[in-house]
């Protein structure tokens, strides 16, 4: 139950007490609102008194008569507009001349309640106003949350981009000062580490490009028939040199030839990320199995490995941006922390689902389900 504060500014005592009586026993409820709204009415007989109450109580809704003894209703409105108060205003007026109506509307009045009004008329206006106020606040809140998330993303991103630069700078200064010795061989570790950090930064930039691609380049004309087995085979080709190095055997098992309507670039992102993870987080001599299957309505992709696995705790945040599981087993594996968050975003774009099952030291299974029938990408 939430209470909205209503201020009524009118010089007629009958109108003020009428509004109080009607609204103090009124509540509004909508299926989309979290809670019921009730009202708490405060009264003012003049614009000057009303402004004092405005300043003190910050009401949510203002019912405003235009014709007042001192300053006029439209002047109160102007006062509110200049200060940008979060308040919804409805004019209660027996006659509204056209210029008053125009001025009031321009200054932010959203409704006109004709005087005299029946309780029902007042109630339906208030219902309307409440709905608008609720939606306005929800929109503001969502905008703010969006800004916060973007800000967090950027601050983590700048950390991820600066860390390798700091490392490089430190190593270069070490060499500049000849701190480890006179010979280039004295700097084998700093050079090797610098190269690794550069590679890590390059990977991060590539992932960021994927990230902006799925955010910005959403074009319907890129949608075409995509044979998932072909995309998988090409992704395996890309990862193969690394797999040979790791002695990981990659198997592709196409149980049913699945063709879906998609942007081929999106499907490449999904397979490339999951297959390279299946190799990267595997053990020497391990296996990575890729299964492509389908049900009546869905394409099913299963990517499993015999790798280091993920604990139950760690799987919870696995798909969030910049989340990397840090432990003894992953410390020498480089990654941007963006790959799985990108995969999840792509899958959701196609109204699909992704799920992970994992046992530490046994392996991890990712299961993706994508609807087969053509969909609109959102």
């Amino acid at each position: 139950m939430a209470v909205l504060k209503v201020l009524v500014i009118d010089d007629e005592p009958g109108i003020r007490s009428g509004v109080s009586r009607i609204l103090n026993n009124f509540h509004v409820t909508y299926p989309f609102m979290d809670e019921d709204y009730t009202y708490n009415v405060t009264e003012a007989a003049t614009g000057e008194d009303g402004i004092a109450i405005l300043e003190r109580d910050m009401p949510d809704i203002l019912l405003l008569d235009n014709k007042l003894p001192g300053i006029q209703g439209v002047e109160v409105l102007e006062y509110i507009r200049k200060r940008n108060y979060d308040i919804v205003v409805a004019m209660i007026t027996s006659y509204a001349s056209l210029d008053v109506a125009i001025r009031a509307t321009r200054d932010g009045a959203i409704d006109f309640i004709p005087k005299p009004f029946t309780p029902q008329e007042l109630k339906s206006s208030i219902e309307n106003i409440t709905k608008q106020q609720y939606l306005k606040r929800i929109t503001n809140k969502m905008k703010q949350d969006g800004k916060k998330i973007r800000y967090q993303f950027l601050s983590v991103l700048s950390h991820e981009l600066k860390a390798p630069l700091n490392a490089l700078e430190g190593y270069l200064r070490m060499m500049q000062g000849k701190q480890a010795g006179e010979l280039i061989d004295d700097y084998a570790t700093p050079i090797e580490r610098s190269l690794q950090r550069i590679q890590g930064m390059r990977n991060l930039i590539m992932d960021l490009l994927d990230f902006t691609k799925i955010r910005l380049e959403r074009k319907e004309e890129k949608i075409e028939e995509v044979n998932l087995a072909e995309v998988a085979a090409s992704a395996i080709g890309t990862v193969q040199p690394y797999a040979i190095q790791m002695d990981v055997n990659i198997n592709l098992d196409v149980r049913s030839d699945v063709i879906i309507m998609a942007d081929p670039g999106d499907m490449e992102i999904v397979f490339n990320n999951l297959i390279s993870n299946a190799v990267k987080y595997n053990k020497i001599g391990g296996k990575a199995d890729i299964v492509i299957d389908s049900s009546d309505s869905e394409a099913i992709l299963i990517i499993s490995d015999t790798g280091i696995g993920i604990t139950k705790n760690d799987t919870e945040n696995l798909f969030a941006e910049f989340v990397r599981i840090k432990n003894e087993k992953t410390r020498n594996i480089s990654g941007s922390g963006l790959g799985l968050s990108i995969v999840k975003k792509v899958v959701e774009l196609y109204h699909g689902t992704i799920k992970v099952d994992s046992t530490p030291d046994v392996g991890t299974v990712f299961t993706i389900r994508l609807p087969k029938k053509p969909i609109t990408i959102t």
Partner: protein, 131 residues
């Protein structure tokens, strides 16, 4: 006390930063114990009393460094602690331990921005250990 008798515990989850810090400390003459996580630092503290500790702020969690400061001060109140972090640059979040109020909850003796030169770090350590 000679520098070669002093052991410094360094905790940082960036292996390169850790390598560089340890390298410069050893070059300056100190002994070091290097760990890459809050968990490892805690297990070192449980068994061993360093002469000084340098903690990174963000490791497994965003406040790993604060937690380590608190834990080490509870066990060894006389061990000076340096919090080293790049955090204020990135988040715009700025704090120092200059005001009494902040000193009361940040249990570090010195707060240093990452990127500090080896000579400066050595100076700060000597000041804290009154060498």
């Amino acid at each position: 006390m000679k520098k070669s008798d002093i052991t410094i515990l360094v905790a940082d989850d960036d292996p390169d930063y850790l390598f560089q810090t340890v390298f410069s400390l050893e070059k300056a003459g100190y002994k070091t114990v290097a760990v890459e996580s809050q968990a490892e630092a805690e297990s070192v503290i449980a068994k061993f009393k360093p002469d000084l500790a340098i903690f990174d702020l963000m490791m497994e969690s965003d406040d790993s460094g604060f937690i380590l400061c608190y834990k080490i001060k509870r066990k060894y109140p006389d061990v000076p602690v340096i919090l080293a972090t790049a955090v204020s640059h990135e988040t715009g979040l700025s704090f120092s331990i200059d005001s009494e109020q902040e000193k009361s909850w940040i249990r570090a003796d010195k707060y240093l921005e990452k990127g500090i030169r080896p000579e400066q770090l050595d100076q700060e350590i000597m000041k804290l250990l009154k060498l």
